[in-house]
């Protein structure tokens, strides 16, 4: 009858935590694979508009990012006029040319026709600025553009009557 003898004294067996690192490592690898490091620190507001007719951009190396929007809250002293951001810095329209040429110079010649300019523009920006950016891009023959959008249903911008 020793089976039931010292029931009071036996403790619950400890739960083995040996597999905990494995679980955490699995999570870690998931996040490492699924996320992309943002190259640029955003200094402009960047709430992208929504659209549903979107295409995915596959090759990250061939994308040139042009950001535009109002300066974010930390940079209020610059003003509330929408600005362009290229590589961590506020930029002027005339800087776009140099930016595109610099990006091109970093890639092989054969890849140049496949490079896409991704316009990441805040949805509250006026079209005047976007039009000016497009004009600059035309000047350097960077004709492939992509209006970066979020995936979602259209309808937030229905013109109010």
């Amino acid at each position: 009858m020793s089976k039931f003898k010292n029931k009071k004294h036996t403790q619950l067996p400890e739960i083995s935590t040996a597999s905990l690192p494995d679980i955490v490592f699995m999570l870690l690898f998931f996040f490492m694979v699924a996320t992309v490091m943002r190259k640029n620190v955003l200094i402009v507001e960047n709430k992208l508009p929504q659209a549903d007719q979107i295409e995915k951009l596959d090759n990250k190396n061939l994308i040139m990012n042009v950001y535009a929007g109002k300066p974010s809250s930390r940079y209020k002293n610059i003003g509330s006029e929408a600005r362009i951001q290229l590589n961590d810095k506020f930029a002027d329209l005339k800087d776009i040319k140099a930016f595109i040429l610099a990006e091109r110079a970093a890639k092989r010649d054969a890849l140049h026709p496949f490079m896409i300019t991704s316009l990441k523009v805040d949805e509250d920006t006026r079209m005047g600025l976007v039009g000016d950016i497009k004009k600059e891009l035309k000047k350097v023959n960077a004709l492939k553009i992509n209006y970066a959008t979020k995936k979602g249903s259209v309808g937030n911008h229905i013109p109010k009557k």
Binding site: I54, S118, V130, K144, I145, H157, K161
Partner: protein, 202 residues
């Protein structure tokens, strides 16, 4: 002979280290949006040859400074834009050489002759909101996609979107044929979206 066992390394802190790494990656990374509406800008030409296009082959879409949408001069709700664009592109009123035998529109004399001739002209104001502009772009691209989908389904049994996805999938066997088919569909409804210089606010 006594065999000594190698002392086991305490792996208790392994979880902590992994957690630290995990939290580091969680904090430092942001999922970046890398999709959007792809467009091609027209090249910059100084002496653009002026082609005369019949008024009925132009679909005028205008966005004014109050973010109002004007289609052919009349205010329109953005929800109705896609339908209107499809009706225009798919009209197919042409005769003879320009007869469109795959169009399903109602062949209105006052609307476009052939999808190949139909041009959508999008004009925006400098004060127009970018969000509204993208929405309109999205609707117009949507109109083309819908028509292309319809024709692709009729001819090949798969939608245009699927065909494009298949093209990206390298394992798909018949890439050449697929490319040709996509080209054919694209030529049936070519994207002719003209964008003029944004107008200034007077």
């Amino acid at each position: 002979m006594t065999r000594r066992l190698a002392p086991s390394v305490n792996a208790g802190s392994m979880a902590d280290i992994a957690f630290l790494l995990l939290i580091f990656f969680l904090v430092t990374t942001t999922i970046e949006t890398d999709h959007g509406i792809s467009r091609k800008l027209p090249p910059l030409i100084d002496d653009a040859e002026k082609t005369i296009v019949k008024e009925k082959n132009i679909f005028r879409v205008e966005l004014n400074q109050h973010n109002e949408l004007l289609v052919e001069g009349a205010i329109m709700d953005i929800g109705a834009l896609k339908r209107a664009a499809i009706a225009f592109l798919d009209n197919g009123a042409g005769v003879g050489d320009w007869q469109c035998n795959y169009c399903k529109g109602n062949k209105d004399d006052q609307s476009s002759d052939h999808p190949d001739k139909a041009i959508i002209s999008l004009v925006n104001n400098r004060e127009t909101n970018y969000g509204t502009y993208v929405t309109v772009q999205n609707e117009l691209v949507g109109a083309y996609t819908e028509l292309r989908d319809r024709e692709a389904k009729r001819l090949y049994g798969v939608s245009f979107k699927e065909m494009k996805n298949l093209l990206k999938d390298a394992s798909h066997s018949n890439q050449v044929l697929l490319k040709e088919r996509i080209k054919k569909i694209k030529s049936m409804y070519p994207e002719k979206l003209s964008e003029a210089e944004p107008v200034r606010n007077y």
